[in-house]
Subunit: 373 residues, 5 copies
């Protein structure tokens, strides 16, 4: 599905001017939903279905953290409206709607070329785009969602593809629940919290892959695997490679946040980001271990198949090697020559049986010695 | 074709003095066509078939951007004429006509050794040479075109191999269409626009390869693949490797433009170049994913072939193992010994049948138990 | 076991606030045991079963080294109690109880956000978490224990999973035994001594793997190996990969200790840490050599199996090629045509035998010439 | 040849003092020939058969470039004579005569320890040693020649193994031909010209390998390849690896010339060296592409062989599976039991034929369905 | 042998205090022999069997170079005695006696913690430990010797495992022979000379491996190779890997000597060390080329084996495919039906022969066409 889509997209946008907003994802019917959350240690206000016109970056001195969560990126006018109100670069918006965009981070300085500087929101922003990976136990498929986060001095704008459920709900719940760490900290901690949520989902998905691998291992070790099992192993391998391509740039994103020394990231958030980097590394390591594991299982499978094949060939060889010569012998005494002295002998028949039994025993001994039986 | 050509070329140029212009591409009949485009925010002038003598870098103070698009690099006198008029280094011109030159970027400082400095056009230039890849849906082949771009203070010279169609037309159309970003910006943005066009074509070609891979996957998974499919997979693999060799140095080119901090690249163009670098990375990543995909498909194909082979061998073994012993038994009672007591027995024939059926059933049970049937 | 556990853990902690202490290891019944050791060159005091309330970082001027060894990390309240008393960061404690945490080192600066600075223990700390690998000769399994070490200005806190035996006993014994190097040096040397102990165990385990590899090699070279041997080789390969994943980050830990130039590591301890880095490198090198060795053994095994298979096929071919034509010949003279002149010939039978012997000898010569016999 | 030679050499020189000149190449009968060329823009003088005593580095102020081309390195006294006259380090001379020396570059500073400094020629020198690869269309073998170049302030000394033809003739011809770039430039450009000549030969050889690969590809794709073709592919692979080992360090040499910022390399020569670096990279890239190509061809070959093998096995299986059961049936009615009711039946014979034809048809249908026929 | 030994060693030293001298090599009966050599340009003095008490680092102003060559490292008291007299760090001595120590270099600064500084020998030292590899033509085995070198301001201490022959004799001979470079230079040149000797032995061993590879190649190309040859190839591969593990860290040692800019290495020795680095690189490159060569030979061997197997299978198939149908036909006319019209026909027998010959010819043509015969 993804592949087919991207194909059309590249040909569609060929030759258009850069900065043109073209949504290339699946067709969506619903309207974009905008959630507006303002909070600080003392209080919070959540507008579940805000109008575009209500969204505006707060004054820099305002003691409030402003979060706009845009649920749907298929309506260019909404995205570009948000862009105008929060003074976002056209190329940034292009990446927001381009669901094929791979995860990356961009540090935008003051928007000097779009508007006079003293307006709220025209300060530097950090732009992060990455992939949310859901897995629903019921379905075998993984749902990949294109997520973009824009961190300003005292606001954060998040974009997600339209789905029935808002992926950031646990964080909103934490804001509602108590005046904890999230409420006490700035928008950089909010950025961290959202990234952490996404990375946690990577880990859950990794574990699900691990479970399937364990099941396949059991099937293979008990020598009950067939072509079916092998195909599943190849699928697992592909999924692991795909996850790696999603998780790996996420590590670079967090690395850049730690390294770039932006004024938007406060020192107290650094340990949390380091912890996040740790989790990502752990996920990557687990993915690598699983990839090795899958390769190992394939090797074991092939070695078992090969072994069985060898047994088949040995059986064929033993049966043939024993009975073909005997068949020749009985063929000899089935000839109709008029003069065949053995045929007249009263015990010829038994002698021949004796000879054949001797040959058969000899061959069995020979095969046993060579370890074929 | 490419290979054969290069061969002649290397032996031809062996021992000649460096800086000699020798065109090594396909033979071309048409004359070189030169397009001259002068534009700024307010106006534009396009001369579709300019004479060499009309081409001249504009004065540094002139409020105009000067673009010369040379369509054909097979006439050394034309290329060297352009070189003289725009004060280009002989080695630069050698790379322009050498269609075997791999993509690269060179930063030339002031041309102090060829002419007195105050003349227009003798300032620093950035030289970029790379490959255009076209794919025409109708034909299976990919058309590779050697493209060179020279960026000066207020001019840009582009060279392309002679083809029926100018590859840069979409950009010319944009200049004609409106006083947009392209018209408002300098020659560095024009350089970006041309590079972006070329990179977009890489993406289209990558997607075409992806489509073919999908088709092959379907054939393989449905177990209808043969040697033919495998050969196509090998071709795909080779094409992917070839594309990688074209796209990879292009990444280095854009990287150098971003890194080198040349006075010719204005800060406002930097975000666009970063965006371009992003697109190239995405193409490279897709190529890598496809290469892994092709390898995976090969493995699946081989595993299917192997599996089928095993089934063939099992069938042979089962048929042989059942009937060879039975044939031996009937051979025994086909012997012509005068004294064979069983032959006289009125039910001997039926006993033998019974024995043979027992053996056959025994073997079938044995094979079923071992999982061969 | 490990895998299953981690699975539950990731889903369990999904969406919880960072810094929440959740023990994810095996269920443990026993209570946590705390050992408190205070020592200097002159004297030492060991409290084998200290109460949490007795633990407290010593005054910075106190001429004593304070070591708290926490045996059990399954009781969150104990770990968080230690954390409060020694002013440890919540994320640090999270890593202490998370038995899935991979080995790493963290340098924590002054705990300015948790408590006023002049209190003892609130200075900078180095946090190291790594894995202890035990191998008990009797059992085939390897016991992996999650160990964390916190080094402060004049104290060291160690955490280990609850086991029947304290893994740090040899170091405690050395403290008891005499006023040697360990007693004369600071807590940084104690950290080194504990790391050294853990690394020594890696080496012992590596050697155990080497022993098993030697045994497998003997079996394979003597051509007595079967699918069983191969499975063991795969297990060895997996164990080596697992050990590499444990030992490799340990190298990074020691590397960081050497590189980071922390005030907590005294110059006199540096040569010892370098020596430790050396041991780790040696272990890694041995692991790599063993991995190559295992791959080599697999190749030898496969080549032997392949060779045997070829012998089987040759035997089948020779037997078939000799007897099938002969069986055809005797079949010819078993036909019941009324007019078959050879049958009347008095020596026909012997002629046929002669012919058949000639054919058999011819084939034997042919096979010998081709090197098949 | 090379291998055997090196063997003797290593054992021969074991334990000798470093700096001892020991020629280890093939035995040579001819005397060393020394060419002495002095040139500048206005004039040139060539002495084709100079005496050692005539060679002397020119005075630093002399407006002349001095080139000594030593044709033969098998006479230690000649090489050491040149070394004394041009003040070359003993280790440099050791590398000149050691034909096993791999390509490298060395920057020697003032020879302060061998002679008082104001003498001509005792300034810094750049020493380059590399391999010339010739290929003669008539012979299949490649001729490898050990070449050394010493660049001083106003002189260049070149050493080559004795061959019937001087490999540097094209450059001498250019000097003779006209007062072009070579004559106008300094000894550093001469160094470049000689390196360029050698690198051009690499390219020619690479193309020759490409031609052979094309031929093998044709043979393989047309499925006419045998063990012979495979052996040739292995040889090609080995040659490619060998060429890589020759060309790769040459890249490092040119890289060092560009990087090291020696006073001996003038800025105007830098673009030419960059161009040279480009050519080497192109050669390396082509070598890599060819290596991939050879691997691909091997894979295709093996897949074709495997495919053919499968066809053979299927044929065997089909023939056996059809005729072995039928042979059993006719065997049944060849038994000599006195009481076999079917034998008396007047249409028994035809019924049996019918049964056998039915079985055969059934099997053919079965095999067709499984895709084996 | 080595493996078994190391095993015992790791378990033996588990938990002992660092710096404890434990010899882990083979059991040795002989006493340690100490050679003491004092030399300068004018004179030299060699004491072949010095007492430990006679060894003492010379005064820093003494115009003499002092070399102590300790032949045997199995007596801890001797090694620790030397250590005390030359003020060597305990960890250094531990590496001297630990024959499992991999090659490395350590730079020790002033021994401030062991003794007051003005005593001779307490200055900085460079410690190098590496492996000597001997090969005796008569025996197939390679003798690996653990060698350690300690370079001080005006002394050098060398340790080697006890063997019948001193490996450094050629250097001692050169000291005896004449007042050459070795006598004229300092202890750093002596260090170089000893390293050079060891590296030369690596080269000799590499060549010996090359010779064996050449022999195996001949056997394989002439298609006379069996399982035996393959096993030898695997052994070669293992030896190459082992040598690489010995030579590679030696390169790092020389690299560190060149890079570290120690006061103990004089500038005049640098060119010699660079030359040495060159030799090591050459050895490594040769090892890599040989490894590729061995892999290539294995591939050729397998392809030949595979090819032969295919021939065997084709032979089986052809014989079976021709004779099995014919045997069926003669079986048909061996049936005993009372009514079989063909049997009465006077020429039936000959018709059947004709039919069978036709079938056989048809099959031969068919197989020839498919290229199987």
């Amino acid at each position: 599905m993804t592949k087919r889509r991207r194909m059309r997209s590249a040909e569609k946008t060929l030759g258009t001017s850069p900065g043109t907003l073209t949504y290339v994802g699946d067709d969506i019917q619903h309207a974009t939903r905008i959630k507006r959350i303002d909070y600080n240690t003392d209080t919070y206000h959540i507008d579940d279905n805000s109008k575009l016109s209500q969204c505006q970056p707060p004054d820099e001195q305002a003691p409030v953290i402003h979060w706009v969560d845009v649920d749907g990126i298929h309506e260019p006018q909404v995205v570009s409206g948000i862009g105008q109100r929060y003074h976002l670069h056209p190329l940034l918006l292009e990446d927001v709607v381009n669901t094929d965009q791979k995860p990356k981070i961009d540090f935008y300085d003051e928007m000097t070329d779009t508007s006079p500087s003293p307006m709220p929101g025209s300060g530097p922003v950090i732009f992060v785009t990455l992939k949310m990976l859901h897995h629903h136990r019921a379905q075998p498929d993984v749902d990949m969602e294109h997520v973009s986060l824009v961190l300003g001095r005292n606001f954060l704008v998040s974009f997600q593809e339209e789905r029935t459920k808002d992926i950031f709900e646990p964080v909103i719940d934490r804001i509602k629940a108590s005046a904890g760490k999230t409420r006490r900290s700035g928008p950089d901690y909010l950025l961290y919290a959202l990234l952490d949520l996404i990375v946690d989902h990577y880990l859950v998905l990794t574990e699900y892959i691990g479970e399937r691998m364990d099941k396949l291992e059991e099937v293979i070790v008990k020598e009950r695997a067939g072509q079916q099992t092998l195909t599943e192993l190849y699928n697992l391998k592909r999924e692991l490679a795909h996850m790696r391509r999603v998780v790996n740039p996420t590590r670079d994103i967090v690395g850049a946040l730690l390294r770039e020394d932006s004024e938007l990231i406060k020192p107290t958030t650094i340990p949390y980001l380091r912890d996040l980097a740790d989790h990502i590394n752990q996920t990557l390591e687990t993915l690598d271990a699983y990839r090795e594991g899958v390769s190992g299982l394939m090797d074991v499978y092939y070695s078992i198949v090969n072994n069985r094949m060898n047994t088949v060939m040995k059986t064929l060889t033993i049966v043939s090697a024993i009975f073909i010569p005997l068949t020749f012998i009985v063929g000899v005494y089935g000839m109709n020559f008029e003069f065949m002295p053995e045929l007249k002998s009263p015990h010829g028949y038994f002698y021949v049986w004796g000879l054949m039994i001797l040959i058969a025993i000899g061959e069995v001994i020979y095969f046993k010695r060579r370890g074929w039986m």
